[in-house]
């Protein structure tokens, strides 16, 4: 088949502008052919090049003495956790594929991020996920229409896909978050995170080093799957773009990935590997040109040698395919036999497809005929960068002007509490995480259901070492991902700070000190100045907050063009953070433990300087009053950081029996969760009541007192004899602390100046625990 002529229409179809095309001609010093056009189009897509976001990402703090591999250097960053051990982690989105085929889209998202981690030489030890869908219930309980049914189908498919891949691969999916909001209708968000562990000396590099070294391909044959998926992810999700993509859905094979991972780790331990990179977005294209660019070498491959699943695949298709579970490995010359032996042991398909050159060019041949020839570095690193226009969104004026004057105070706080507990965004996510194997690998110290998960790192968490006898000191890591996107929508800068504050607070509640973070920026189309403004302002907030909590960003992902015909999604910068719990005794969970314990609030009961008293953007206003507006709670980073420090200090003294932060749903929801969230066994929750006295706060509106979401608050419980001392210590550390009540009984009773809210723990638990299952079965 002769190459088609490169027409303006074809250029446009590839998502390239006329100026970008000129730049390509400049780089090549000639006209590109179709294969080359395809290669540039994927490498210069937002997904691979960050051309719209790169200038903003520069604001992130990316350095600390603990960082061994920094953001942007490799597939994932690496952080030292002491005693010669290190962790690699990263988050990545698979939004558009999941919109088209939720099960496979989400499954391959998990597969992709796991590959990013073992590519670094680390053994993947846990997974985390952050999900968003349109509403799965109707506001008034009326029968679900097509939109709600579709949201349920997407939710079902995505969760099953994540479960399928992670469970079969054998990685515990140990934490996550799920939000439901109309802005995600038709454009769900699926962000998957993976963390791996390795020894310092085991760090592998994605560089094509050593002129003459052979290049191996390992993994299943290449098919027409996910053709140009990176480009697909970098345009608005429309019916047409989805239809195109349908023909090329990627199917995940977790069994294959497990084999590829074990073989790669075994291979890395031999020292025969000079460089290694997964074939993720933009498959063979990205892995060849990036490895060459990193090493400053060239690479030459022959596509005829690439295993192919379908007959008559063109060079264009082979280069752009996103078939899953494939790796590119550059091997030290002379060590090929060891490589082949290991691949054969694991029954893996492999092929030697090329070699490293000194030409600094990426040369692709097909049966010996050159089909692409590009200077690798220019392709990988010289994508255009845009400073987009930014304009404050018009809706913000109304948001800022919003006051509570038109909102009557609550008259049914007990009813409101039940309603909030059963609201899918707040309700227990056990319908989700019980489908995930969250305990495999014998390390799940705190399972999903508490603020942050805690995982134990032990000898077998590590990749096989040349010296298998070296002792390994056990470590405890805490993890969580968070993002209240409604806050970010209502105030991108302040909201983004809160995102980071909340995730850091969750780590502090578990007893952990932050090590680092990774973020996934999910936004609408950046060509819209209002959306670019959201992006710019929230990145500023994220960067500032990550600095404040000493949680440098080690990498992340940008997913733009998340729009459906109804408009853009809420700006959703999800942030996953990893922290270290120094000693096992410091691990703390959120639920109350023993009757008689004193309940203490760290932080101020409400932010009195906030005219909305923490109700702006709150779950309460959204669910009870149908209002998604008002300036969200302010985030005072200095105070917040001080709170975390004090909380950890108290935990270290050994007196804190439980710690739970106040987030969605405010203090009343947090207290209820402390009473009902302890899991014992199937159908056997650990329930314990509490008696709370808030009558001293008569100056506050009831709804704000109970359901306001002012930041910087944590509910802890301690043995009664420690209560006074703990309050004094907290105050000495500059954190306000007040006793709210006592653990015990079979109900949560909250007395306020206006009356008493009482909820039997069984009833509260029932509303909260079964809400998602009920919603999904249409009850």
């Amino acid at each position: 088949m002769p190459d088609p002529v490169i027409t303006p229409a074809l250029i446009k179809q590839h998502g390239l502008t006329p100026e970008e095309f000129e730049r390509i001609r400049g780089i090549l010093e000639r006209e590109p052919n179709l294969t080359e056009l395809g290669i540039f189009s994927v490498m210069w897509s937002e997904h691979c090049s960050y051309k719209n976001s790169r200038p903003l990402l520069k604001q992130f703090p990316t350095k600390s003495p603990k960082i061994l591999v920094g953001a942007g250097e490799e597939n994932a960053g690496i952080i030292d956790i002491g005693d010669g051990l290190a962790i690699a982690f990263k988050i990545e989105s698979h939004n558009h594929p999941s919109a088209v085929e939720p099960f496979q889209g989400a499954a391959t998202g998990v597969g992709g991020i796991i590959r990013d981690i073992f590519t670094m030489g680390a053994r993947p030890v846990c997974a985390v996920n952050s999900l968003r869908f349109g509403p799965i219930t109707t506001v008034d309980g009326s029968p679900a229409g097509p939109a709600v049914l579709k949201n349920r189908r997407l939710f079902t498919g995505v969760v099953a896909g994540i479960a399928h891949y992670g469970n079969c691969f054998g990685i515990p999916t140990i934490a996550g978050e799920v939000y439901f909001d109309a802005s995600y209708e038709g454009n769900p968000l699926v962000n998957a995170f993976c963390l791996g562990v390795l020894r310092h000396e085991q760090i592998a590099r994605g560089a094509a080093k050593g002129i003459g070294n052979p290049v191996f391909y390992v993994g299943p044959a290449t098919g027409r799957d996910g053709l140009a998926g990176a480009a697909f992810a970098s345009q608005d999700l429309t019916e047409e773009s989805a239809e195109q993509q349908r023909g090329a859905v990627q199917v995940g094979d977790p069994f294959m990935e497990k084999l590829v991972m074990e073989a790669c780790l075994e291979l890395l331990a031999t020292g025969a590997v000079a460089g290694i990179q997964d074939m993720g977005a933009a498959g063979l294209t990205c892995s060849t040109c990036e490895t060459a660019a990193r090493a400053g070498t060239g690479i030459e491959i022959d596509l005829a040698k690439v295993p192919q699943r379908a007959p008559n695949m063109t060079p264009y298709e082979i280069m752009l395919s996103e078939s899953q579970e494939r790796m590119l490995i550059i091997v030290h010359k002379g060590r090929e036999e060891e490589v082949k032996r290991i691949f054969d042991k694991w029954d893996l398909p492999w092929a030697e497809i090329g070699f490293v050159t000194d030409t600094s060019r990426m040369v692709v041949k097909n049966h010996g005929v050159v089909v692409a020839d590009i200077i690798a570095r220019k392709l990988a690193d010289e994508a255009p960068v845009y400073q987009r226009e930014a304009r404050e969104p018009a809706y913000l004026a109304a948001v800022r002007a919003f006051r509570l004057t038109g909102v009557p105070d609550t008259t049914d706080p007990a009813g409101n509490l039940n309603t909030l507990l059963a609201w899918p965004t707040i309700a227990s996510k056990n319908w989700v995480y019980r489908q995930y194997d969250h305990m495999v690998r014998d390390g799940s110290v705190v399972c999903p259901g508490s603020d942050a998960a805690v995982i134990r790192i032990k000898a077998d968490s590590l990749p096989t070492a040349a010296d298998a006898t070296a002792a390994v000191t056990e470590k405890y890591l805490a993890l969580k991902v968070d993002c209240n996107a409604v806050y970010v929508y209502l105030d991108p800068y302040e909201g983004a700070k809160t995102v980071v504050a909340e995730v850091a607070r969750n780590l502090a509640c578990a007893g952990a000190v932050p090590l680092g973070s990774t973020d996934n920026l999910n936004y609408g189309n950046p060509h819209n100045p209002e959306i670019f403004w959201q992006l710019r302002e929230s990145v500023r907030g994220l960067a500032e907050a990550c600095r404040a909590f000493n949680a440098p960003v080690t990498g992340g992902n940008v997913s733009l063009y998340n729009q459906n015909p109804g408009g853009p999604i809420d700006p959703t910068p999800t942030v996953a953070m990893v922290g270290l719990v120094e000693k096992l005794e410091h691990v703390t969970t959120q639920w109350f433990k023993d009757a008689g314990d004193a309940i203490i609030l760290l932080g101020e009961i409400a932010d009195r300087q906030d005219p909305l008293l923490g109700l702006g953007g709150s779950a309460y206003l959204q669910r009870v009053h149908g209002l998604k507006t008002g300036s969200p709670p302010r985030c005072d980073l200095e105070r917040e950081a001080n709170l975390h420090l004090a909380l950890r200090g108290l935990i270290h003294t050994g007196v804190v029996k439980s710690a739970h932060d106040c987030s969605d749903g405010g203090l009343a929801v947090a207290l209820a969760e402390c009473c009902i969230s302890r899991p014992i066994a199937r159908e056997t929750p650990g329930l314990i009541g509490a008696v709370i006295d808030l009558s001293g706060y008569g100056d506050l509106r009831q709804d704000a007192l109970l359901f306001g979401e002012s930041q910087g608050r944590v509910v802890i419980s301690v043995a009664p004899l420690h209560a006074a001392k703990v309050i004094a210590q907290a105050q000495a550390l500059g954190v306000l602390a007040s006793r709210l009540g006592t653990v015990g009984g079979s109900a949560l009773q909250i007395t306020t100046s206006a009356g008493k809210l009482e909820g039997d723990t069984r009833g509260l638990h029932d509303h909260w625990w079964h809400a998602l299952a009920r919603a999904m079965s249409g009850e």
């Binding site: 069994f255 694991w346 066994a681």
Partner: protein, 238 residues
């Protein structure tokens, strides 16, 4: 004692079993690759959890044909102790070493959560150290753990006291609500007629250390060790 822990390509609880046997219980445990034909003189065999061959077609269907399973068949035929956990249980059923089959959970969903187990009889190498009436709090993690057998088989299991573990509620009752997958008779695990081969869906190896929330699962391994010690003390049969 020496344990052989089988390793299929996609076993993923193999390391966990080795960890518990070695580091928690202080015995020796060795991974045995599925292509091996010998168990290397092990005293007992653990067939661990995971997805053996991706669990394509049916759970355990492909694994039963692997070379190592020939060795396990022979080992069991000589009275050797074999314990299958989760996927290991599925493999033993597929291989015909245990009767019945494990089918899709009735919820059609994978389930990972803690459950309570009751051991109706101490009369087996796998339950002899479990005090009468004691409930074990142990996690499950499976999508296909619904135990099925025809009426005759089920009758035999009951009559011969071969139901070794049942799902129960906090009061020790095998209620429907306590049944996580729809298993007949709330069956979580059984043994063969000779009582030397057993399988269960729950994961005792994930409940062997206090820091993971429960150490109840140790009782199952301790039962096995108790039996092995007793056997070692017995003079070899003529």
């Amino acid at each position: 004692m020496n344990f052989a822990v089988l390793q299929f390509p996609a076993s993923n609880c193999d390391q966990d079993a080795v960890h518990v046997l070695r580091n928690v219980l202080g015995h020796s445990a060795r991974l045995v690759w599925h292509k091996d034909t010998s168990l290397g003189g092990a005293d007992a065999v653990i067939v661990p959890g995971g997805f053996s061959y991706g669990d394509y077609l049916r759970t355990g269907a492909i694994a039963r044909f692997s070379p190592v399973m020939q060795a396990v068949q022979a080992f069991a035929a000589h009275g050797g102790l074999v314990l299958g956990i989760c996927n290991g249980f599925q493999i033993l059923c597929e291989a015909g070493l245990l009767p019945g089959a494990l089918i899709r959970n009735r919820s059609l969903q994978f389930r990972c959560e803690h459950i309570f187990l009751r051991a109706p009889t101490p009369d087996s190498p796998f339950t002899n150290r479990i005090p009468a009436g004691q409930l074990l709090r142990v996690p499950i993690a499976h999508g296909e753990g619904c135990y099925f057998a025809d009426d005759t088989t089920l009758g035999q299991l009951r009559a011969q006291n071969r139901i070794l573990w049942q799902y129960v509620d906090a009061a020790g009752q095998p209620t429907d609500a306590a049944n996580p997958n729809g298993s007949l008779d709330n069956i979580a695990g059984i043994c063969n007629e000779r009582r030397n081969v057993a399988g269960l869906m729950p994961h005792p190896e994930r409940a062997a250390e206090g820091l993971l929330g429960s150490a109840d699962g140790r009782l199952i391994f301790e039962s096995l060790l108790h039996e092995l010690t007793a056997r070692a003390a017995r003079p070899p049969a003529a």
